[in-house]
Structure formats: C-alpha cells, structure tokens
Symmetry: C2
C-alpha cells in the first residue's frame, strides 16, 4: 500500500516533500537570533501574499479557530454589538465564539450553498444609523458548503461605517485573491490549507484601526492577547514557546509559493476549480453551490441512489483518496472535494477517475 493519502479534503492539505523535510531540522532556541531570523523570513513570505497593506502579521501556535477566537477576544467586549455574515459552519463558528464572549450578535445567513448577499449586508449597515456595530465578521471561503463570499463587495458597504471588518481567510489565504485595501482590517488564516503546511500555526494580520480596538477591548485573554504577541514580535520572539518545526515548514512552503509566484498560484487554483466543476458535472453529478462556487473546495449533491458513506469508503479503502463528507445539517446530503494548496492537474484527474469508479461500484448511472 502506498504511504500517504490523497487528501482531497479542504484541510489539512497535502504537505510537499521539501516542506516535510524542513521539519526534520534540529530544534532551536526560540529566544535566540536564529529564531528571530526564521520569524523575519516567515513574515516576509506572508507579506508577499498579503500585499502592500500596512498590517502587522502575527503567527500564533494554534489552529485557525484559535486565531478566530484571538480576533474576537481582542476586538470585542461583552455587550458589544456585532454583525456576522454567515454562509455555513465557519460563519456559525464566529457566532458561537462571539456569544461565548458575551457579544450581541446579529447574523445574516445565506441560503444553503449560496454566498451571503452583499446587499443584505448593506441593508443591515444602513439600518445601523446609530453606528452600533463594533465589527463585522465574514468568511472568505466557506469550506463547509464550497462557497466563496464576495468580501470585496461586503467591505464596500462599510466605507462610511466605523465597524471593523474581520475576514476569516483560513482556507483561502494564499489560494484566492484577497486584498486588505478593499477595506479589510483583520485577516485570519492557518498553516494547513493553501499554505501547504501541517496544522498548528494560526496567522492574524491587523491594521492600525484594529490595534486601537485591541487596546480598548475588555474581554479576558492571555494566551491570545495580541498585545503581548506584538510586543515580543518586535524582538523576533513570541510570548510563549512557538511551534518551531511548523515555522520551519511554513518558511519552506512560502519559498515554494514565491518560487511559483503568488499570482500564478491564484491562477492555478482558478483553473483547477473550473476543472473540478466540469469534471463533476460530466460524471452526471450536481454541484451543491448554485452561486459563488469556490475554486478551492467543490461541494457535490449526493445522488438519491447512493449512500455517501459507502461511496467515500470505497474511495478511501480501495484507492486511498480521501473526500470529505458534509458537516452538521449537510451530513449525508453533500460530499466535498478539496483542491487547495499543493495540488496539480494530475491530482484532479486521479480524484475524478476514482470518483467515477467508486460511483460505478455503488451502482450509480448517469
């Protein structure tokens, strides 16, 4: 049996061999000049994806959810009014975290399999004539439904409103175009999706307006207190022991991304997104996302005649290809094909062929 799975899930994604090898570098002192140099190199790599926006980028030891919580704990105080634009599980996650921290949460939920309408956001913003919203939270790419939200259009609705705009780009950062200059104050990401690294690092970028809110927020926080992460970052350190090995990995992965060219990486994901959707449709399957279909994860309706567990089981056990099922309400109704990060055309050819064969073994006919 071949070692390693074909990870056609939205994350963690396949880690390139040179990135895996980078992790076998010996451990280093995290308070010495060597770590400061590593940290500076990682930061430069992340900035090359983020673009020229003036933001501080911090790399925390946690998953993507951890940096979502860091954003909430540092920007929102109990009783603050906020708006969440939710198109699935990860939008709901913002709602849950915000409620845990005592925020008063307004939610715009999209129809299942659709992005949130920027017009709906605009309506809420216009109705907030007392300017009560402290922050608006949105998911760039909602992996639970395979939908990409138009965060550029959402940001535009906030042009005359002081609310901060916080974007969860956990799966999209480094795969889909995202420009803070659109009007985004906080960008959140993680190591294990487009950045082709093992999970374990959460990334958060904040501009000056966001920092003002951080200084004023009253929620309890220590591990996720971004003020101490910023203070230590100034000397090339972290307030707590960082996940050094994953920093080695991230440094190498960012080198690969810059070698290919950030724009080329975006173009590759776009091309592969089209390829997956065409392939899925040509197999006689129906896309779940009717609008805003994501270029990095494709959601597919489970055909009536098929038991999805059987289908994904065949792909996994016989061919070592791992597709993802649906989450929560969508369990049994959709399955998902991840195509983010270290993925080439040949990976998609294999995935589609395995999907066709597995469907046929389940008795599916077009």
């Amino acid at each position: 049996m071949r070692e390693g799975q074909h990870l056609r899930i939205p994350g963690p994604t396949d880690v390139p061999p040179s990135v895996l090898r980078a992790m076998s570098r010996p451990m280093m002192n995290h308070r010495g000049p060597e770590f400061a140099a590593l940290s500076a190199s990682v930061n430069a790599g992340l900035k090359s994806i983020l673009g020229p926006a003036e933001m501080d980028i911090l790399t925390l030891t946690c998953s993507g959810t951890g940096v979502m919580e860091a954003a909430v704990a540092n920007l929102v105080s109990p009783g603050d009014k906020v708006l969440v634009a939710s198109s699935g599980v990860f939008g709901e996650r913002f709602v849950e975290i915000l409620k845990a921290y005592g925020a008063v949460v307004d939610v715009i939920s999209s129809a299942p399999g659709e992005p949130v309408s920027p017009k709906e956001v605009a309506k809420k913003i216009e109705a907030d004539n007392k300017l009560d919203y402290k922050a608006v939270f949105a998911t760039h790419n909602e992996t639970s439904t395979g939908v990409t939200n138009d965060v550029k259009a959402m940001a535009a609705t906030l042009e005359d409103h002081p609310a901060l705009f916080v974007v969860d780009a956990v799966s999209s950062f480094g795969a889909l175009e995202l420009d803070p200059a659109w009007g985004i104050d906080v960008v959140i990401s993680g190591s294990q999706k487009a950045l082709m690294c093992p999970p374990g690092l959460g990334i958060i970028a904040l501009n000056k307006d966001a920092w003002s809110a951080v200084d004023a927020a009253k929620s309890p926080r220590f591990y996720f207190d971004l003020r101490s992460w910023r203070k230590y970052a100034e000397k090339g350190q972290t307030p707590v022991t960082p996940a050094v090995s994953i920093m080695y990995a991230l440094d190498e992965a960012l080198r690969l991304i810059n070698e290919e060219g950030v724009k080329n990486v975006f173009a590759r994901h776009k091309r592969i997104g089209n390829m997956v959707r065409s392939g899925v449709k040509s197999l006689g399957l129906e896309l779940f996302a009717k609008k805003g279909a994501s270029d990095i994860v494709t959601s597919v309706n489970v055909p009536y005649s098929i038991d999805v567990k059987t289908l994904l089981g065949i792909a996994r056990e016989r061919y070592n290809v791992i597709f993802a099922g649906g989450q929560k309400d969508l369990a049994g109704k959709i399955f998902r094909i991840g195509h983010v990060g270290h993925v080439g055309d040949e990976d998609i050819l294999l995935a589609l062929t395995v999907l066709e064969t597995s469907l046929s073994e389940c008795g599916f006919t077009k």
Copy 2:
C-alpha cells in the same frame, strides 16, 4: 559548522532523530480512523507516564501556557477565590492568567531560589475556614529558578479542603516523579520539554472532580473549552484541526520513553541532576537554588567578575552550546543549564567543559 545547537536550555529541548523523522510522514485526514488510532496510541503513551489515576488526558494544539489558560478558563469563574503557590515566573504566570479571568487571587511566593513551603500552604488552607478557595495552583518544576516544589506535601494539606489542586508539570511531566494519587486533580504539560518533541502540543489531564468544576465554570472559552475537547476525544478526534505532525512526533517520543522505561527515565534525570550540580560546584560556581534544586534545570549564580551575556555568547558562538540566561528580575544574576528530555551523560560532560572554557575566556578563576 555542525547543524543543530546543543540545547542546554529548559525548553524547547533536543528532539531525537527518530522523532524528527516521524514528522516527515505525509499529512493525514484528521477526521479518519488513522488519526483516531494515532490519538489512541499517544493517549496510551501519556497514560504510561501518568500512572493508574483515573483521568482523561487531552492533547490540545497550543503551548504549555495555552493549557495553563485552559485550566483557568475551565475551572474558575470571575470572582472565585483561588490560591497560587508561586516560586518564580511560571507561578506568576498562573497569577496573571487568573487575574485576566477575574479571579480573586491569594499568592504565596517563595523566597527567590527556594521552593514554596508546604507549611505556608497549610497555613493558608487552615485559615480558609469558610472553604472559599475554589482551586490551588502550583508549579511542579519552576524552570525560571531551577527549583522543584514538593507538590506531594502541598496536596496533603488539601486533604480536608474541597479546593481542586492544579499542577503545572509543563517541564517535569515525563522527567520527575508525579503521582495524581497524591491528591492532584489537574496535571498540565507540554510537548517540548521532557517529552522530547517540538513545541506545539499542550497536554492536560483531569479527574472527575475537575470535570464537575469544568461543567459549572462561567468564564468565556471556546478554543480552550475542554467540554468540546472531551466530546470529540470520545470519537478519536479534536474539535479543531490538530497539529498532526507533532502528534506523529509525540507518538514516537512516547515509544522511546517506554522503551527506556518510565522509571529509568526518572532515574536518569535524577543522576544527571546530581552530575550537573557537582560539576558546576567543582568549577567554583555557586548554585542559585539553596533548597529543592531541580534535577532538570540548574540555576547558577553569575560570578561578580563575569558579564553573563559575554559568557553565554562565547558558549553559543564558539561551541554551539546554548545556556539560558535569567528571566525578568533574575536577568544578569543567574544563568541556567537545562538537562531535561533527550539528554545523556556525554551531553553534560560537553556542557560542563564548554562552561569551564568559556568562563576561563571571560577571565574567571576559581
């Protein structure tokens, strides 16, 4: 120049070659049976160190400080009265986190370089005749001062008091004897010290009494909400994407620890602790810890005639041996030699020789 530093700091510690190699295994799906098997194997390894105590062990993606915060956020509600037995920076860290979460904190601080007196703890506990203390927090091994606290004696003072006893064993777990049966309700650790792994995983073990407190606590928490970690652990998963590669590492490191035998590992640390203290004294240096000197980190007074930065700089730049300076108030006054985890007699011979040579280059004479 040799690749890799001789890490004579209290952490992150040297990672054995087979543990480094384990991290180059391909990424896997964190929601599949393979991860559940890995997780079960890691848990069994951790239990072999923890002993027969009936505790749930959870492995979180964060540093040791993260699990310290998890303990606070899950056990303490705003306004709760707690006691911290502090002998240095990491005892103070509990105080800071507890205050951030709104606890009313009583502190017993030891004299610098000494352990906390269990008699002082007993006095505080006896004086608390209203049984107000919800929890008592202590540091097993205080790496900032090189002191080991007698948590067994502290636990005994709580025999007739309902307060939970929470022990930070971040540096000691897997190196120094620690038995929850002494009366410890919560044990906290991390991957990057005695467990010989890269940083990135925090470990927390809780007994039944601790879980009752978790269910009742009112502090905001999401990422560190141990209820969801426990729920997912039941199916061999984690609520957020786990640091899979460091789990590979931890599994291999635990295999090495069990191959050597947990008791033998404890005995090796004890022997090496003695060896370091004898060696340091024979060089004409003075130990900082007058009582309770730790077997895993040795603190040394900086001789009057020596500039410690110069001393540590020579060891680092010329010999690639990294000693640690003093933290906070102790900066410039002590330096520290770490000897925890993947360390053998030959590493100590080298460290002492380099120390002798570097001292001599600084002009130090006995």
